[in-house]
C-alpha cells in the first residue's frame, strides 16, 4: 500500500539528516548495552515518552498551528483506563491500551466539535479549561481513586509480565517504549506526506485559501485532534504501567500539558524531528537540573526557575525552535 511505502520513505530528507538519524537510532537501540546509571535509563525512558507526546501534539499544534494546551487530560484517560482495567479486572496492557485510545478519541470528538469553532487565544484557553474540568472530575471520582489516585503493586503480578507490562527492570520498559517510538516516527513520516497532513499545513498557512481549495477546515482539525489524542493516550497507558502510581495532580495537570506543547515548540513545531529534538533537550535538562540543584537544601525550586528562564528565552528569541534555526540556515546557504 502506498501509505506504508510513504511511511518508510525518508528520501526527501537531506543525506546528512538521515545519517544522523540512523546513528542516533542505533545508539538508542544499543543504549542498554553500554554502562549506564539507573538515572540515565529513567531519563531515556522519559525522553522517549515525551518525544511521543510531543509528536502527537505536533500533528494538531505544529502542522496544524492550533495551539492545544490541554493534552494532559488524554494522558489521564489512557493512564486511568489501563490502571483501572488492570487493577479491577486484570486486563492486559495490550487490550486496555487500545480501549483507552478509544475512550480518548471519543472524548476528543465530543469536545473537539465545538472546540474548533474557536480560534487563537480563545481556543488555547478553552483547551486548558476542558483539561482542568476533567482533572477536577477525576479528583472526586471514587471509581478512579479520587485525589489519592491508583497504585499498581508489582508484587501481585509475576514480573516480567509481557501481557500486563509489569517488569522489575527498566530495560524491558525501555525496549517497549522504544518500539512505540519507532512506530511513532514512521507514523509521523506518513502523516506529513498524507492528504490530511497537507490539508493541515494549508490551513495553518491561510484558512480562507484552504477552504477555497475544497478543504473542510473544521473537520480536518477535528480529525487531527483525534489523532493527537490517540498518541497521547497510548503513551499515557504505558505511563501507568511504568510509573505504577497515578494521580490527577501528577498526570493531568496543566504543567504536563504545557510541557508537551513545549517539546514540540522548542524543537521545532511542524517538523518531523522537532519534538524529538525538543524532548532531547528539555527532558535531560529538567532531570539533571532537578538532580543537581533541586535537592540542595534552601534552594527549593531553583531548577524550575532556570527551566522557566530557558522557556522564556526561547519563546522570546527563537520561537521557531531548534529545527527552525537549522532550516533557516540551510535556506540561506541555498540562496
Amino acid at each position: 500500500m502506498e501509505a506504508i511505502r510513504n511511511a518508510l520513505d525518508f528520501s526527501d530528507f537531506p543525506r546528512l539528516d538521515l545519517i544522523v538519524a540512523s546513528v542516533v537510532g542505533i545508539a538508542f537501540i544499543t543504549f542498554p548495552l553500554f554502562p549506564h546509571s539507573t538515572f540515565a535509563m529513567v531519563t531515556m525512558i522519559q525522553f522517549l515518552m515525551f518525544s511521543l507526546y510531543g509528536m502527537g501534539w505536533n500533528t494538531i499544534g505544529g502542522y496544524g498551528g492550533q495551539v492545544d494546551l490541554g493534552k494532559a487530560q488524554y494522558v489521564g484517560i489512557g493512564a486511568y483506563t489501563t490502571a483501572v482495567m488492570l487493577i479491577r479486572w486484570d486486563v492486559p496492557f495490550w487490550v486496555s491500551m487500545p480501549i483507552g485510545m478509544f475512550f480518548a478519541v471519543i472524548w476528543s470528538f465530543i469536545i473537539g466539535y465545538p472546540l474548533f469553532r474557536l480560534k487563537g487565544h480563545y481556543f488555547a484557553i478553552a483547551t486548558i479549561a476542558t483539561s482542568l474540568v476533567l482533572k477536577d472530575i477525576f479528583e472526586v471520582w471514587d471509581f478512579v481513586g479520587a485525589a489519592r489516585g491508583l497504585e499498581i503493586s508489582p508484587i501481585k503480578y509475576h514480573p516480567p509480565d509481557f501481557l500486563r507490562l509489569i517488569f522489575r527492570e527498566d530495560v524491558y520498559y525501555f525496549y517497549v517504549i522504544l518500539g512505540f517510538f519507532f512506530i511513532g516516527v514512521l507514523y509521523m513520516n506518513w502523516f506529513r506526506k498524507s492528504r490530511l497532513g497537507f490539508q493541515l499545513r494549508s490551513i495553518k498557512d491561510n484558512e480562507d485559501v484552504a477552504q477555497s481549495l475544497g478543504i473542510n477546515v473544521h473537520w480536518a482539525k477535528v480529525k487531527t485532534y483525534a489523532i493527537a489524542t490517540a498518541f497521547v493516550s497510548m503513551v499515557g497507558s504505558f505511563h501507568a504501567c511504568y510509573i505504577k502510581s497515578i494521580e490527577p495532580e501528577d498526570t493531568m495537570s496543566l504543567d504536563i500539558s504545557i510541557l508537551i506543547a513545549l517539546m514540540a515548540m522548542l524543537g521545532g513545531a511542524g517538523s518531523l524531528w522537532g519534538p524529538i529534538i525538543g524532548a532531547g533537550i528539555l527532558i535531560p535538562l529538567k532531570s539533571y537540573l532537578k538532580e543537581w540543584l533541586g535537592a540542595q537544601a534552601g534552594l527549593v525550586g531553583i531548577d524550575l526557575i532556570i527551566y522557566a528562564l530557558i522557556i522564556m528565552v526561547i519563546s522570546a528569541f527563537e520561537p521557531r525552535g531548534v529545527w527552525g534555526i537549522v532550516e533557516k540556515f540551510r535556506r540561506r546557504k541555498r540562496n
Binding site: 492528504r195 497537507f198 498557512d205 491561510n206 480562507d208 485559501v209 477552504q211 477555497s212 481549495l213 475544497g214
Partner: protein, 251 residues
C-alpha cells in the same frame, strides 16, 4: 443554459453595502473581465460567489445547481476555484507543496498529487522553483503559483483576482499567455478581476463594471472603454449613484 448565474446579489457588512443587487450571467467557455475602481466590491463579489461570505440576499447558480448557501469548501468541490489577491503566506509550504494541496482535492494518493503538481508547474513554466518557499519568489512567480494551485483542483470555473497586479509589461504578457493557455487549452471558464486595463481589454470576451457595489455597465471591451458611465467612475470626482441612468457631468 447559463453556466454561472448571479441574481440580485446583495452583500451587507453591518451598515456597509458592499454589493448591491448585482445580476449577470456567464456561459461556459467565456472569459469575462470584472473591473471597477478600488472599493467597488469586486473581491467581495468573488468571496460571495466562492462561498467565503454568506450573501445577504440574492442567489447564485453554478452549473445548474443553487450554490447560494453552500460553504466555501463545498463550492470548491463542485469545480469553482479562485485565487486570492493578498496572499499572506506563513512561509511553510514550498511551491510544489502548495500546488499539491490543490491536487489533493482530486486524489488521495501523494504520488499522484505530486506527479500532477509537477505537470502543472511545467505547464506554467515555473517548475524550476518547485522547492522554494512561495514567499522567496519574485511577485510574478508567486502569482503563477497561485494560479497553478487553483487549476490543480481541475475546476470548471476559475476566478482570478488581480493576478497582474504589480507586474511589469513583460510579466504582464507572460501572465496573459498563461491565462490564455488555461482558458483555451485547458477549457476552463475564466472570470478575472483586473486593474491592468490592457490585459482585461485584450483578453476578455465581455467586461462587467462595478462601482460602489453596483453593476454599472456590461458589454464587449470596445464598448466598455468608450462608455461614459465607466469613464466617470474611474475619472470623475463626484459620482452620482444612478443605476444605468444619465449622469450630470461634473466637469
Amino acid at each position: 443554459m447559463a453556466f454561472l448565474e448571479v441574481h440580485n446579489l446583495t452583500k451587507d457588512f453591518g451598515g456597509l453595502r458592499a454589493n448591491s443587487n448585482i445580476t449577470f450571467s456567464m456561459k461556459r467557455g467565456e472569459l469575462i473581465g470584472l473591473i471597477g475602481p478600488n472599493g467597488a466590491g469586486k473581491t467581495t463579489l468573488f468571496n460571495c460567489i466562492s462561498g467565503l461570505h454568506p450573501v445577504t440576499s440574492g442567489g447564485i447558480i453554478f452549473d445548474e445547481e443553487d450554490i447560494t448557501k453552500l460553504k466555501a469548501h463545498k463550492v470548491a468541490q463542485r469545480g469553482l476555484a479562485r485565487t486570492f489577491q493578498v496572499y499572506a503566506a506563513s512561509g511553510d509550504l514550498t511551491v510544489i507543496e502548495n500546488v499539491m494541496v490543490g491536487c489533493f482535492m482530486k486524489t488521495h494518493l501523494r504520488s499522484r498529487a505530486k506527479a500532477r503538481a509537477t505537470e502543472i508547474l511545467k505547464d506554467l513554466s515555473i517548475d524550476d522553483t518547485a522547492d522554494y518557499l512561495v514567499n522567496e519568489l519574485p511577485v510574478a512567480a508567486q502569482k503563477r503559483v497561485t494560479m497553478a494551485t487553483a487549476i490543480a483542483s481541475e475546476p470548471k470555473l476559475l476566478l482570478l483576482d488581480e493576478v497582474a497586479a504589480g507586474l511589469n509589461p513583460n510579466e504582464i504578457d507572460e501572465i496573459m499567455a498563461s491565462i490564455r493557455h488555461v482558458h483555451d487549452d485547458m477549457g476552463i471558464t475564466v472570470m478575472l478581476i483586473e486593474h491592468v486595463m490592457e490585459l482585461v481589454m485584450k483578453i476578455s470576451h465581455r467586461v462587467i463594471v462595478l462601482d460602489y457595489g453596483e453593476k454599472i455597465a456590461e458589454g464587449d471591451p470596445e464598448a466598455i472603454s468608450k462608455d461614459p458611465r465607466v469613464i466617470k467612475a474611474y475619472l470623475g470626482e463626484r459620482y452620482v449613484k444612478e443605476h444605468g441612468g444619465a449622469e450630470e457631468s461634473k466637469e
